[in-house]
Amino acid sequence: MAASLSEIEKKTLKALDSSKAKSPEEISKLSGLPIDSVRRALQWLKEKELIELRENQEACIKLEPAGKSSLRKGLPEKMFVQALKELGGKATLDAVKKKSMLNTPELHASMGLAKKNAWISILGGEKGVELELTGLEKDLLEGNYALEKALEAAETGQEIGKNERSELLRRGLAEESLKVNRKALLNQNGGRALQNLGKAKQRAYNVQGAVPKIFIGKKQPYIQFLEQIRAKLVAFGFKEMASPLITQEFYNFDVLFQPQNHPARSWTDTYQLKQPKTGKLPGKETVSRVKAAHESGWKTGSRGWGYNWSKEIASRVMPTAHGTAHSARQVVAGVEVPGKYFTIARCYRPDVVDATHLIEFNQMEGFIVDESFTFKHLLGMLKQFAVEIAGAEEVKFFPDYYPFTEPSVQLSAKHPELGWVEFGGAGIFRPEMMLPLDIKEPTLAWGIGIDRLAMFKLGIKDIRYLFAQNLDWLRNSKAVVVE
C-alpha cells in the first residue's frame, strides 16, 4: 500500500497525526509543501482511505470596501479627533470638516461617537459652536481603540469580540459569511501506511525481476585462502620467513646436504638461469663447514658424501625450487630456540603446464626447534596441522625420504569429503645440516601441499585456476572461508 504513494502524499502523511486533526495550512507549514499540493494530497489520501477529513462550518466576518478603506486610512472618528488635535484641540465643526476631509454623514456620525466616548466637549461661544478635546482621546490616538483592533482582526481572520463584531456589521464596515473548514486526521490504515513509509522504496517493483549485476572489489580466491592459512600459522605461534624468488644453490641444496651431483640438481629437475649466473655466499666459516660436511661429514659423526664440494656450484643462483630453501636461509641466519618458523613460498619447476601441473606454485614449509623435541612431537605437530588446517578426521604416517631429513615421514589425512589424501611431508633436519650451523637442538621440518588443499577449498579441478585468467569466474567467486 505504502509503496503506491506519491512523494507529496508521503510528505503529507508524515505531517499528519491520528489524534489531532490538522488543517491544510498547518500541514503545509509542517511538510514544507505548497498549500495547493497539500489539498490535492489530502484528497488522494482520502480516496485511498488513509485519512479522515473533518469538515465544519464556521461563521466568519469579511471586511467590506468601507472597512478596508478604514483599515488603510483609519476610522472616520479617529480622523475626526486627529483633525481636531491638529487644530490645537479646540476648533469649529467647519474647521474640523475641512481639516479631516470627512463627508457630512461621516462628520456627524464621528462627532456623535466622539461626544459619546467623551473625547470632546461642545462649547457655545462668540464664534458659534466650538469643539474641544477632553484628554480622553489619548487611547484612540495611540492605537488603543477596540474597533480599530477588530478591523485588523477581521482582515487576518482572528477572533473578534462580540460587541465589536456587531458594531462592524452595523456600520457596514464588514459583512458576515459562512466558511467550510477541513481538517485531516490519520485513520488506522493511514497509521500503518505511515509506519511502512520508511521501509518501502518508490513505487512497487517486480521483486522477481532481474537487476543490473554489481561487481564488487574482491581479493583473488587463492590469495584469500593463503591469507587465512597464514593467519592460522601465526596463531599457532609461527614466525613467517622471507621467501625470495631467486636463491643461491647454496640454500636450495648445499645447506640441505644435497650432494652437488644429486640427480635432483639436474637441468631437467630444476630451472637454471642464463643471467644472472652467480650470487654471494655467506661467511667463510659457514661455507667451509658446509663443504666439510659434504665431503667428510665435518664433526657430525657422518661419513659425508665423499666428493669434492665446489664453491662455484653452490654460488650459482636459480629460481627457488622448494620452500625448504628459505628454512635453510633462516637456519644460516640464526634461529630462536624454542622457535617456530614458516613460509608460503612461490616455487618453480620445469614442467609442461596442464590441469595438474604448474611451473610456478606455492609451498608452505617450515620448522620448529626445541631441546625437548623428538620424532613423536613431529607426528604431533603434523596431526595438529591436518586437523586444524585441513579439517582431517584421521591421520596416517608413512616412512618417506628427503635428502635433508632423517627420519622422514609422510602424512596422509582422511578428509571428510576427499577421503585419504597425501597432505605433507616432514622429518628431523639431518645433523650434517644443522651441526655445522651450530644448532644442536632437534629441528623438525615440515611441508604441506597447500595447492591441493586450495583446489579443494576453491572447488576447482584444474590447478591453473589458482592463477585464474577468467574474469567472469573471479567476479562470481564466493568468499573463501577456511574454518
Binding site: 583473488q220 657430525t300 612461490r346 604416517f397 616412512p399 567472469d472
Partner: protein, 548 residues
C-alpha cells in the same frame, strides 16, 4: 622418485609369505614404497628413497620387508665362491674411467620375472645412484660367450670395431658415439677423450664399450643364459662396488651362485664382490633422543634385526653391522630411522607440541594485506598471474625493444612463454584483459606481486620488487581516472608522491607520468594504441604501476 614394477606372486615367493594384495601394499611401506598402480598381478611401487638403489627391484623390496612381516633377521648372508677369473685393468684407462668391479653368477634359471627385474634394476641404478651412468655404468653379459681373463683397456676410436647392441653391423667407436642412439645419449661422458674404454676378453672379443653400449654378440642375457657376468665401471671403487653389490645380491636373493673375480689394477689387486657387512656404532640415548620411544636395549636390538642389521650391545653402545649393498648410511640417524620403521609408524602415539612461541607475519605479508584491502575498497578485482613470462610480452608487444631490455632469464625454459621473469606487471594484466574481452566492461583489475631485475650489487644478483599494478578498461577511462585512483590509493597507504611528465613507449604521449614516491618509482597513464592493438584491446585502457 623411481617407480619399480613388481609381480605380486613373485613378491610372495621372494618374501616367503603369501601376503594378499592389501597386505602387500601395507608391507611395501616398510621399504618407503607406495603402490601407485595395480594391473593384474603387476604392482607399480614408487620407492621414495632416491638414495637406496638396493630397493629398486622386487628382490630388494622383498628383502627389506621380510624381517618386518615374515621371518628373517639380521644381515642377509650370501655365499661367495671364487671363480678364478681375472680382470686386467690397463694403465691407459686410468685417466678416462679408472674403476671396475665384477662378479659372475652361475646356475641361473632365467624366468620372465627375473629378466624383467634384472634389466629394471640395471636401468634404475643407472638413473639414480649411477647419476645417469656417470658414476656407475653396469654391463650384463652371457659369460659362456667370453673367455677369461678379461681386459679393461682403452683404444683409439678407429682402432676397434664391434656390433653394438640391437645393431647388425660393425661400427668403430667414433661411429657408435655419433650414430647409435645410446652413443648419442651418453657421448658426453667421454667428451674430450682421445681414447675410449673397452672391455674385451682374452681373444680380443669385445664385451662392451663402457659406459656407452654392450656388444650384440656377447653383452646380452637371454632365455638360454646359464651364467651371467655382471660388471660395473666408474670413477670411485666404493661406488662401483656398491652398485655391483646391489645388482649381485638381488640375483643371489633368487638362490643363484655368486662367484668372485680378481681385479688386477696396474698397482694392486682386489676381489669383488665383497659382501662383508659394514660396521657402525650408536648409543641407546641417541636412539631415544631422536625417536622419543623410550626403547630398552633389547628392544632396540630386536628392531634392528628385523631391519637387516646385526646388532650387539657393548657397554653404553650398540654395535651394528649392516649389509654391503647399503651405501646410504652416513650417520647413526640413518640407522635410527630404520629402528623407528621396524617399530611401526602406526604404533607411535603423536605427542602434541606445547612449547609456546609468539607468531608473526612477515613485513611483506602485512603490507600486501593492506595494499590489497585498499584496492578492493575502490572496487578492483584482484588477479594473480605468473612471475615467469615471455620476453615478447614484456617488450615488443608493448612497444619496447626486445634486444635492449635485460631480464632475469631462464637457461632451460620448457616453453618460450615462460622464459624470463617479469620486470613489469602490467603486460601480464593486459594479457589477462585480452582473454576476457567478452566480459562486461568496465573491467577494473589489480595485482600486487613481485617483479625481478638484474642487480650486480645484490646477494643473488637480482633485486626483487613488490609492485602494485592497476589496470582499468572501459568507456571514459582516461588519465584523470587513473590519477584519481593513484590519489585514493596513496592517500590510504600514507604515501606521498610527485609526478613528472614522461615519455614511455607503452603509454600515450602527453597522457602519462612518472611517479616518484619515497624513492620508489612507478608510472601511470593511458595505454598506447599500439600496445592495446597488440593485445586486441578496443576499450580505453589506463594503467598504474608503482613499487610499494
Amino acid at each position: 622418485m623411481p617407480n619399480v614394477e613388481v609381480n605380486l606372486k613373485d613378491m610372495q615367493k621372494l618374501v616367503g609369505k603369501k601376503l594378499s594384495l592389501e597386505q602387500m601394499k601395507e608391507a611395501v611401506l616398510y621399504a618407503k614404497g607406495e603402490v601407485d598402480a595395480v594391473e593384474g598381478d603387476t604392482l607399480t611401487v614408487d620407492i621414495k628413497d632416491t638414495n637406496r638403489p638396493d630397493l629398486l627391484s622386487a628382490e630388494g623390496i622383498a628383502r627389506e620387508i621380510r624381517g618386518r612381516v615374515a621371518k628373517g633377521k639380521g644381515v642377509p648372508e650370501y655365499k661367495v665362491k671364487k671363480s678364478g677369473v681375472k680382470f686386467f685393468v690397463d694403465k691407459n684407462v686410468q685417466p678416462i674411467r679408472p674403476k671396475i668391479a665384477a662378479a659372475i653368477v652361475k646356475n641361473v634359471k632365467v624366468s620372465e620375472n627375473f629378466l624383467i627385474q634384472m634389466i629394471q634394476l640395471q636401468e634404475k641404478i643407472h638413473l639414480t645412484f649411477g647419476r645417469k651412468r656417470r658414476e656407475a655404468a653396469i654391463g650384463l653379459y652371457d659369460w659362456s660367450k667370453l673367455e677369461q681373463p678379461m681386459h679393461y683397456r682403452a683404444y683409439k676410436p678407429g682402432e676397434k670395431r664391434f656390433i653394438p647392441l640391437e645393431y647388425n653391423v660393425e661400427m668403430d667407436l667414433e661411429e657408435i658415439l655419433e650414430d647409435h642412439p645410446k652413443g648419442r645419449d651418453y657421448a658426453h661422458l667421454l667428451e674430450g677423450q682421445k681414447l675410449y674404454p673397452i672391455l674385451e676378453d682374452n681373444r680380443g672379443v669385445v664385451a662392451s664399450m663402457p659406459p656407452i653400449i654392450n656388444s650384440q654378440l656377447t653383452g646380452k642375457v637371454s632365455g638360454d643364459t646359464k651364467e651371467v657376468l655382471v660388471e660395473v665401471t666408474g670413477y670411485r671403487q666404493e661406488t662401483v662396488n656398491t652398485a655391483l653389490n646391489v645388482m649381485v645380491s638381488a640375483l643371489a636373493e633368487r638362490g643363484f651362485g655368486v662367484y668372485s673375480v680378481e681385479i688386477v689394477y696396474p698397482k694392486g689387486k682386489i676381489v669383488t664382490p665383497n659382501f662383508a657387512p659394514k660396521k657402525a656404532s650408536l648409543s641407546l640415548a641417541e636412539i631415544n633422543r631422536i625417536s622419543g620411544l623410550g626403547l630398552g636395549k633389547k628392544q632396540a636390538i630386536e628392531l634392528l634385526g628385523r631391519g637387516c642389521y646385526n646388532a650387539l650391545a657393548k657397554g653404553d653402545k650398540i654395535e651394528v653391522e649392516y649389509p654391503a649393498y647399503r651405501q646410504d648410511i652416513l650417520h647413526p640417524v640413518d640407522i635410527i630411522e630404520d629402528i623407528i620403521i621396524s617399530y611401526g609408524f602406526d604404533k607411535i602415539e603423536p605427542t602434541p607440541v606445547s612449547v609456546p612461541t609468539v607468531g608473526a607475519e612477515s613485513k611483506g605479508a602485512k603490507t600486501a594485506k593492506i595494499v590489497r584491502e585498499t584496492c578492493v575498497g575502490i572496487g578492483l578485482q584482484e588477479v594473480l598471474t605468473f612471475t615467469m613470462t615471455s620476453k615478447e610480452r614484456q617488450t615488443s608487444k608493448i612497444g619496447l625493444d626486445l634486444e635492449k631490455e635485460q631480464f632475469v632469464e631462464i637457461a632451460n625454459p620448457v616453453s618460450e612463454n615462460y622464459a624470463v621473469f617479469r620486470k613489469r606487471v602490467f603486460p601480464e594484466l593486459l594479457e589477462f584483459l585480452s582473454k576476457n574481452k567478452h566480459c562486461l566492461y568496465p573491467q577494473k583489475v589489480f595485482e600486487f606481486g613481485k617483479t625481478l631485475e638484474l642487480d650486480k650489487g645484490s646477494e643473488t644478483g637480482v633485486v626483487e620488487k613488490d609492485r602494485l599494478c592497476i589496470v582499468l578498461s572501459g568507456k571514459g577511462a582516461g588519465f584523470n581516472t587513473i590519477k584519481g585512483v593513484l590519489d585514493a590509493v596513496t592517500e590510504n597507504l600514507g604515501i606521498e608522491y610527485s609526478l613528472k611528465e614522461s615519455d614511455l613507449a607503452f603509454l600515450e604521449k602527453g597522457r602519462q607520468a612518472e611517479i616518484t614516491a619515497v624513492g620508489k618509482k612507478g608510472f601511470l597513464g593511458e595505454v598506447s594504441e599500439k600496445a592495446k592493438q597488440s593485445f586486441g584491446l578496443e576499450q580505453g585502457t589506463v594503467v598504474l604501476e608503482l613499487e610499494i
